[in-house]
Symmetry: C2
Subunit: 146 residues, 2 copies
């Protein structure tokens, strides 16, 4: 604040601050987290966070998830270099879902090389691939697929 | 198709169709589903779907979720009238997350009256409310809060 006053400013009135954050007591300690491109609004991926990954995300400014399949922290981009820089974090009304607005380094969030993991559209004939990959996964991940 | 030809068109080549849909054998039969405003790209809410709610969503063109707390189908807008008309459905790379691009009738997805359930931003001082409600929940839901 630029002025040492006890009166709330118009800005404060318009944007009340309330306490709290995600409620990790819900969802068995693991909550869904959506990553959205901060510039374009494109939904990039959905992953999960536990309290530790959320805390590290806040501390580092980079998206850190909890991998349910590997049962460990997943520092997004740890292998590919395609980290997600946090621009804003939103919490939903029930405090059990997280929205990350990110800058996706490398241009693609998906391990397939697509910008978004949601690159398949449902049609009456089945799933239709939308767009083309930004990178070749074999070049980014070598022999590993994850 | 307008032409009865066995040759694939340029459009078909550019957008290959693959089979399948969400894999409800994952996640204990319940998968996260993101609702995104089809026009603005705003992420409106995160809920869950089971196979039955997904099938009804496809059949009716309206978002139907599975309420984990009430353990039953949740036809979004069944009480408020604020249904979500499906414009497009995307499936993620692992087939275990669903993205609905919707037209939000009534202008607000959240039971608090906010356009998006993600109306709270994380700041160093706590959560900050962004924007103002579109409707008064007491007018829409009467004495009920859900």
């Amino acid at each position: 604040m630029s002025e040492p006053t006890s009166q709330p400013t118009a800005s404060e009135k318009a944007a009340p601050v309330v306490d709290g954050g995600p409620d990790f007591s819900k969802g068995g300690g693991i909550l869904p987290a959506i990553a959205q491109d901060a510039q374009t609004g494109e939904v990039l991926m959905l992953a999960f966070m536990n309290a530790e990954s959320y805390a590290e995300t806040l501390a580092t400014g980079r998206a850190v998830y909890f991998s349910r399949s590997r049962n460990r922290l997943w520092r997004k981009g740890e292998e590919s270099g395609n980290v997600q820089l946090i621009r804003e974090i939103r919490i939903d009304c029930d405090s059990d879902a997280i929205l990350l607005k990110v800058e996706q380094v490398g241009g693609a969030a998906c391990h397939t090389g697509h910008r978004s993991c949601f690159y398949r559209r449902v049609t009456e004939q089945g799933l239709e691939v939308v767009g083309t990959p930004v990178f070749d996964p074999s070049q980014v991940y070598g022999k590993k697929s994850g």
